[in-house]
């Protein structure tokens, strides 16, 4: 029943005031709180699902806790900030394979491996000054990695990120990314 909190909040948000934005400010806060509580609870459902999908046959390795980065639209994900290694799992809910460019906010450059272990073409590009200065943004991250992810229909792929050594980081400054003001 842990998904009930989100489904109930989504139901409440079908009210015409929530849809059109004609609610009072305090009610808007209440809608936001209900949705946030619901999304947090739904993370457990994601983890329960992946705990069945991720281990290999005959093995039961501990599956790391999966979490959402809900502020990634402003290039903020404090949980992965400065980490040496992390994984990104992308679930495709459509019945078609999709190719999607993914942006991941980072402080320094990382090697990105696809599920077969191949290193994918990933590029480190700066985050705009406007994004860095959005009021309320607390991350000091000034860069993002962009790469192309291929996802199967109704399925997922996990990408493995490992921080590059500093000497490789230096190459970023001479990379092929061209910036013109």
């Amino acid at each position: 029943n842990s998904i009930f909190y989100l489904s109930e909040a989504m139901g409440v948000a079908q009210h015409h005031d929530a849809v059109s934005g004609t609610e009072k400010q305090e009610v808007a806060f209440d809608y936001a709180q209900r949705l946030a509580v619901g999304i947090d609870a739904a993370e457990n459902v994601i983890n329960q699902a992946f705990s069945k999908l991720l281990p290999k046959d005959g093995q039961s390795p501990p599956v790391s806790n999966q979490f959402l980065c809900q502020l990634s639209n402003i290039s903020q994900c404090l949980e992965i900030d400065g980490q040496d290694r992390f994984t990104l799992t992308l679930w495709n809910p459509t019945i078609h394979p999709v190719v999607q460019h993914v942006r991941v906010p980072v402080r320094t450059d990382y090697t990105v491996r696809d599920p077969t272990g191949q290193i994918v073409l990933s590029e480190l590009v700066p985050i705009s000054y406007a994004t860095q200065n959005i009021p309320g943004r607390t991350s000091v991250t000034q860069k993002q990695i962009i790469f192309k992810a291929s996802l199967p229909a109704l399925g997922f792929n996990s990408y493995y990120f490992e921080k590059k050594p500093e000497e490789e980081e230096e190459k970023y400054k001479q990379s092929k990314v061209k910036i013109t003001h």
């Binding site: 005031d17 959402l68 994984t87 809910p93 993914v102 272990g117 590009v125 406007a130 493995y160 990314v177």
Partner: protein
């Protein structure tokens, strides 16, 4: 502006040397859409006199600009272009509270516009309603198309209603319609479609033009029930909103194939979850 031409296998996006979006070329179809102008504009919200409904203020329920002329949010802008293999981006900053990033991804079939608006300044005591306007050279003949509250896309005609004799009173808001997922204008062999990532409102106030309201901050209640102005001061200075538009330039005959597939991909986008790991790649694999 030779330094900032975004191009992939399908599309080319040109900017002029003032930092304005100049044209989008569909390379495969050999068609282009030129932009007379593109960017952020604002309407002054009518302050009203709410003791009588005919002097109703612009508020949560009512969009009622003081004049039908939208003003640009700035006269100048800065443009930064980033060219990589996966993505090419033009970051255009209009002022402290309005900017957009126009991106073209490798093999992408859409032009992505990520807009950021806010906090809207109100220290001049003027309520503001912010739009993004795409003024193109398409001869749209007063017609535009929006989807209606999740139902089918309907043809809209400026200053016209199909079932009664319409008297034009509000020249802007009278031509606004819900844009829940898409709006387009077209002529014989060109269609310009904008997909939205959320429900917005907008219309085509001039031929060839699409305008979409993305943010608003108003200082008066419109006296229709909410009882307070649409002025989000709880965080001290108003809200910042960021969203995306996806631009499609195709002939009318092939546009639906792109905007229907594209809108489903927007609605059912991949869900990203992260996990920390201490294992090096050999152990992890």
């Amino acid at each position: 502006n030779e330094e900032c031409v975004l191009q992939n296998q399908n599309l080319r996006v040109d900017f002029d040397d003032q930092g304005n979006l100049h044209q989008i070329v569909n390379i495969n179809q050999k068609i282009d859409v030129s932009f007379v102008s593109q960017g952020f504009y604002w309407y002054q919200g009518f302050p009203g006199n709410n003791s009588q409904s005919e002097f109703q203020a612009s508020g949560a329920y009512i969009f009622r600009p003081l004049t039908p002329n939208a003003l640009p949010v700035s006269q100048t802008r800065s443009i930064t272009c980033i060219k990589a293999q996966n993505v090419q981006t033009a970051i255009i900053v209009f002022n402290d509270w309005a900017s957009q990033e126009i991106s073209l991804y490798d093999e992408g079939e859409f032009v992505e516009v990520e807009w950021t608006v806010g906090p809207i300044p109100i220290n001049d005591n003027i309520g503001k309603e912010i739009i993004i306007r795409y003024d193109t050279n398409i001869q749209s003949q007063s017609k535009y198309y929006t989807d209606a509250n999740g139902r089918e896309v309907l043809e809209r005609k400026r200053d016209y209603r199909p079932t009664w004799n319409y008297t034009v009173v509000e020249t802007v808001s009278g031509n606004y319609y819900p844009i829940n997922s898409r709006i387009w204008i077209k002529e014989d062999n060109r269609q310009f479609t904008v997909l939205t990532d959320r429900s917005e409102g907008g219309g085509s106030i001039q031929d060839g033009s699409i305008e979409i309201m993305v943010h608003r901050r108003l200082l008066h209640d419109d006296r229709l029930g909410v009882g307070e102005p649409l002025n989000e001061t709880a965080y001290g200075e108003g809200l910042v909103v960021r969203g995306r538009h996806f631009l499609i330039v195709e002939p009318p005959a092939s546009s639906a194939r792109y905007h229907r597939v594209g809108s489903q991909r927007l609605f059912m986008h991949p869900i990203a979850t992260f996990a920390l790991t201490q294992q090096d790649y050999n152990s992890y694999s």
